[in-house]
Assembly symmetry: C2
């Protein structure tokens, strides 16, 4: 099959990234979201409406949504675990929302404190309310290539949860290698199997880079026609010590690869690197992007 | 085309790696080579016989060769830029030698102080002497996907230098993305073109990971039948500040991917990670391997 001519990048740094980093100020978050939009990113997961007890880093997501400079053509989305979160996200002005499920029963229990079936039940009223208000809902399926608690995850479980979320009304299913353990042929097999139930144009990849495999896995999947990929600028959230939530692939590294393959993203790589470097000064660590590090080193020589 | 069932890994950490790190003791080098052999690595570039003025880190390569515990079935090789180096390598007991050329005229001038043509002329007597003594010579071609000085490198230049080295008697040509700038389709195109002149079973990939692309590039090339790959344990040599010599791909990350793809390497990943961790304690930095970091973090939790 032919490679896609264009890939849509779903930037998850401000949410999936920052929720796994030390807390930064509202100003820093807003500057990050604005810098990403300025770099040409057209879809930004901007925050989460979850309990601040569990995820204190996202406590000011409402403020973030209200303060950012909205750029036309950019979708500002929010993660919402339940109806209450959904309503708060709409109040704040989120364009879209996302729900977070798992293909692993053990991960579902440990991470969202309920079974997979219960989590889907919880999403149903949210998805119904969203449909009434003409708000699109994205569905995450985590642990599609492995689970930190149960180890292997059957591809049939991924297919089941992904197609159920699609059937329930999620317009796009994001397949997450949450702990970054997958390798290219496994990723291909998984995507092929899911694409038999959910049309490939409604599928996205969300591969963490914990084991350094994310780009290779994405490259292996592109010929299957997948054209939406989730990444985090500067590899935000890449704390390797948090089990089950480590190592987002850096947006810079994906954009660099796609550019080299002649696949358009609409993103200005230099501006993207700048956005990542800027937020990393607030986090007191270097960007976790090989491309950013290499380009910054070149500027220093 | 089908993937290879088995890949031979050429471990270049003790040479290409350590020559781009701060100097470590003879004891540490010997321990590294022995640990690599113990992990199942069957080809180890153990040192270089070059001017200690230019590469002080390799000044004791003769001692390294004389002190290691030789394991049957393992090839201990040396980099030798000229006849003098070749003779010193043989005296020290190297099983094989390698010469280092470039596909980029600018890099050849800056890195080895002569034109490409002059460098090939220098290799001729070395290759002749090696043939007389039944010593195999490996040929490196650097800058096959880009040059730090001239930028783009024509694939036709790579083909020309690779086939010339092969014609001169090198039994294997290692194609180096010295600055790690390549992307998957470019890597594929380059390898395909070279394989039209040099049989694929006489080609190896030596891709640095400076821009995070190495694994994706290797995965893209494996279906072409290439089955020899150069890497450095712990990503040794990965100093991002040295122009033109940065960012070896970590052997651990490649072995992990190949295992996941069902491709045999004969290497014990846990022992390999141990070998890398051990040398990194002498270098005072963490392993530059995502797999090693992820596994070490798991052990800590």
């Amino acid at each position: 099959m032919a490679l896609p001519k264009q890939v849509k990048i779903v930037e998850v740094g401000p949410r999936d990234g920052l929720q796994n980093e030390q807390a930064v100020s509202l100003t820093a978050k807003v500057a990050l979201v604005n810098a990403l939009a300025d770099a040409g990113v057209t879809y930004i997961e901007t925050g989460a409406f979850v309990s601040p007890k569990w995820v204190p880093q996202m406590a000011d997501s409402g403020e973030v949504f209200k303060t950012i400079a909205r750029k036309p053509g950019v979708t500002y989305a929010a993660l919402t675990p339940n109806l209450k979160g959904f309503e708060a996200a709409l109040d704040a002005g989120a364009d879209e929302v996302a729900v977070f499920g798992a293909a692993s029963e053990a991960f579902s229990q440990k991470n969202i404190n309920c079974s997979i079936a219960e989590s889907l039940d919880r999403f149903a009223p949210l998805i119904a309310a969203a449909r009434e208000q003409n708000i699109r809902v994205r569905g995450y399926v985590s642990c599609v290539l492995g689970c930190p608690y149960q180890g292997d995850v059957a591809i049939s479980d991924v297919v089941r949860v992904a197609s159920e979320l699609y059937r329930m009304g999620c317009y796009e299913i994001s397949l997450g290698d949450t702990i970054g353990v997958g390798t290219p042929l496994h990723a291909q097999r998984m995507l092929k199997a899911v694409a038999e139930e959910v049309p490939i144009e409604h599928l996205a990849l969300h591969f963490h880079n914990t084991y350094g495999q994310a780009l290779a896995n994405i490259a292996a999947c592109l010929p299957l026609g997948v054209a939406t990929i989730d990444t985090a600028v500067a590899g935000l959230g890449g704390c390797p010590y948090a089990r089950g939530a480590s190592g987002n692939l850096a947006t810079e590294d994906l954009v660099y690869m796609l550019q080299g393959m002649g696949i358009a993203t609409g993103i200005d790589l230099a501006k993207l690197i700048h956005a990542g470097t800027q937020i990393c000064t607030h986090l007191n660590h270097s960007p976790r992007s090989q491309v950013a590090l290499a380009e910054l080193a070149k500027q220093e020589t």
